[in-house]
Symmetry: C2
Subunit: 317 residues, 2 copies
């Protein structure tokens, strides 16, 4: 569903951020290479679209109001995601002649790589990165041919010519809208119940559909499609609008679940978990940039970063 109006402007949010950092509209304007009146008008326009007084100009120097500091923080979260998008896009666009060449499966590329690049950029701001996307076989192939320095694939089968290391995990989960009766359900669903329920699914032949069919098939069951859609986003929309339960990668619904727009229904009796692995050619030293990236990704596992998002605790797998 489309964004509600009015939509704030990214450039203005970014400008407000600079005002907060630098303490004056003038300096913020300089940092953004625009004239001071332009910055002033932009900020006034932002205040108008949000309907809030963000800045107190009464004392010569512009100071943030309480609403302004809140907006700075909320806007900061938006801008962080924009930066991740920009890094991902830049990596996708990069043609050869860069220093770190990545290859990643769709899931890893979409949900994990931008965050990794964000962290990598903190340590090596000027490192050029390129990213190639494809299915797991394609990634393994690209890495084996030395067309990428390091790759990221889903699944536990790795060609014998490649070294690998598990860097993350992903699994398919059953999700429903918060209004769905199952959203308050206590016990886990059995494989038979899942098979008997019409589900919002990807089309036959897609990776996630195959994994689901395989897991149910191992129990002698098969899936019952309610509708079949061609994209993860379409499934999110259908499930979110209450059409029915859907099956999606846990990574794909991270934000929706965190913010309560979807609810994961626990299941039992079958597992749809797969590892996400870094892969690189065996008997070849990793390039310095690739080994730095791998080290950064692995260091995250040391538990030093607590999840500050409310009292949520990660389930231990």
């Amino acid at each position: 569903m489309p964004l509600a109006h009015p939509v704030p402007d990214l450039v203005s949010l970014d400008l407000l951020q600079s005002v907060a950092e630098l303490g004056s509209i003038r300096r913020a304007a300089m940092a953004h290479h625009v004239s001071q009146p332009a910055a002033s008008m932009r900020l006034r326009a932002l205040e108008r679209t949000l309907g809030l007084e963000l800045l107190d100009r009464s004392s010569g120097r512009a100071r943030l109001t309480p609403a302004g500091t809140a907006t700075v923080e909320w806007g900061g979260a938006v801008l962080d995601e924009v930066r991740a998008l920009q890094l991902g896009v830049a990596a996708l666009r990069a043609e050869g002649s860069t220093q770190l060449r990545l290859a990643a499966s769709m899931t890893a590329a979409e949900y994990l790589v931008p965050g990794w690049l964000n962290r990598l950029r903190a340590a090596e701001p000027d490192l050029g990165v390129s990213l190639q996307m494809g299915n797991s076989e394609h990634v393994a192939d690209v890495v084996a041919r030395r067309d990428a320095d390091i790759g990221f694939v889903e699944g536990d089968t790795v060609p014998a010519t490649l070294d690998s290391k598990v860097v993350s995990r992903d699994d398919l989960v059953l999700v429903v809208a918060p209004s769905h009766p199952w959203s308050g359900r206590r016990g886990a669903l059995s494989a038979a119940e899942v098979a008997a329920t019409p589900l919002v699914l990807r089309e036959p032949g897609s990776g996630t559909r195959q994994v689901l069919e395989g897991a149910l098939g191992a129990c002698g069951l098969s899936v019952t499609p309610l509708v079949e859609l061609g994209s993860t986003t379409a499934i999110k929309a259908a499930v979110g609008s209450g059409l029915g339960p859907g099956v999606l990668s846990r990574l794909a619904i991270r934000a929706e679940v965190r913010e309560g727009r979807m609810v994961i229904v626990p299941t039992s009796g079958f597992s749809l978990e797969r590892a996400i692995r870094a892969v690189w050619p065996k008997a070849v030293v990793l390039s310095p940039a690739a080994s730095l990236l791998l080290a950064q990704i692995s260091r995250r596992a040391d538990g030093s970063v607590a999840d500050p998002e409310g009292p949520t605790r990660s389930s231990r797998r």
Copy 2:
């Protein structure tokens, strides 16, 4: 520091989202109440600014390219944060006559409330919400006067006239830039080492400064300011640029740490942790909306939502 160019446009990202959901540019245009050519041109402009081919129009119907699906997902994360901002702003702007009146301390309002509202809106889309911000005493006062249905405060001291429940936790942490020598440090810093180090701090008298001084004071030590800045954002900028170690609320640096732009340096020997509590008048039944919100916040603690962000595990407190 300002956003890098080129900056994608939120409306275009939102439009692309609709194309992914609805399967055609035409329908996306209708969903956004603009003409089809306008949508077509917007998407072309987005492709130009990102330097990527997002849509394959060769087959009559527009279909997403691999780069397009990646952009849809990255853009979805951006739009999720925008929605949180909009909810927070709407709640700040709301004047009386709404159905749920919140009051929250700055930290809770900035970092937690928008996410809660996002979840609440999934269950009650038409609920009006207002939000009042202030320090903890002010929040307790507003709630006691029945000017808010429920409040959120930091700290463990709650007036006797109020009921309370811990809904989250926050603590101050020592952070450095990834380039700082301490970022790779193994052991924890002692209170004496922290006291001996010049730090980037808030000004004397601010809440976070007082907490830090209190904790060190209990060990017979005092802080050594390197610079004193007037806002959390200014401290983030100073620490991020490598000026020196800083002390900030863990909630405030969530995104920075997750993406590796800052590193938390472990400390030991003193604690800067405080609970974040919901508070409401004792001997008064919570309004239905308030109790729903409280239930949703509390339900998050049941562990059903695993953190899918890489192999990170939450530390258990």
